[in-house]
Amino acid sequence: MPSFEEVKVGDIIPSVQVVMDREMYKNYNRLVNEVNPLHFNEKYAQNLGFKTIVVAGVFTYSFFLQPILDWTKDPDCIKTIKIRFHQPIYIEDQITQGAIITKKYIKEGEKYIECDIWVENQKKENVTTGSAIFTINP
């Protein structure tokens, strides 16, 4: 990744694609002992007006930071994350996640970068948005 000095507001962090794989999600639900039927019962989800099983926000969050972490290669860089789930992400959806730098500054000797993050589905619908504050170490 570029150095703090090289990073400019407006720079795009390379996007990442992930498929909400049914088998992967089944295993994940087992791991977290998912109890909300919206996330595993298709009929229940449809009765609530959804197309099919809605993937839990906590699962999509598992991938939300991927563009930043792939870019910085530093898992300790993340300071704050905000995430808003606007539209459902369904099982087997293919999502694309990207980020754009919105601010950079130095505070108490630490180099901070802020970015907006977006997630869209295969229909190019904006399903999730958010922002992140992370540090860049020399």
Binding site: N27, L31, N33, F63, P75
Partner: protein, 156 residues
């Protein structure tokens, strides 16, 4: 307006009381469980592995069963409405220090409770905060979640 707000305030105090009664939840953060998460999502960064810490994307998963417990507690409380569904709408996560495997205390508080009218129905909007402390009582991270509970008619 007062008549509408008073029951919500009572409900908020009741639910917050329940949550505080659960505090602190003891968490033993195990490498084995984190490894399972990384295996499922197909990622593991070598730096976290070498430093015996969890990477930030695991935190929400780690705390998810406790958030679920809180929601179940909320549903167990005699709510004056029938609950039709639960939707996670937003979160904010703040990381203060790298989180190593080991023992932690988790504290939860209900921050706000509102009633909202949406396009598809009426909702109770819960915002709660979970804060993770290490054994030295240092705040490691916090996790603020908002959930919409779709509500039906009032239960008399």
């Amino acid at each position: 307006m007062m008549a509408e707000e008073t029951p919500l305030i009572i409900l908020l105090e009741k639910i917050d009381g329940f949550m505080q009664g659960m505090n602190p939840v003891k968490i033993n953060l195990q490498e084995r469980k984190a490894a399972k998460f990384y295996e499922i999502i197909g990622r593991r960064d070598t730096q976290s592995q070498a430093e015996q810490t969890i990477s930030p994307e695991y935190l929400m998963t780690l705390l998810a069963p406790y958030a679920t417990k809180v929601l179940i507690k909320i549903l167990e409380i005699e709510l004056p409405y029938k609950i039709r569904g639960v939707i996670h709408t937003q979160s904010e996560i703040n990381y203060f220090k790298p989180i190593h495997f080991g023992n932690y205390d988790l504290f939860s508080r209900l921050e706000s409770l509102q009633k909202k009218k949406g396009k598809t129905g009426n909702y109770l909007v819960f915002t709660f905060r979970m804060t993770l402390f290490n054994e030295g009582q240092e705040e490691m991270a916090n996790d603020i979640h908002q959930f919409f509970l779709r509500i039906g008619e009032e239960v008399s």
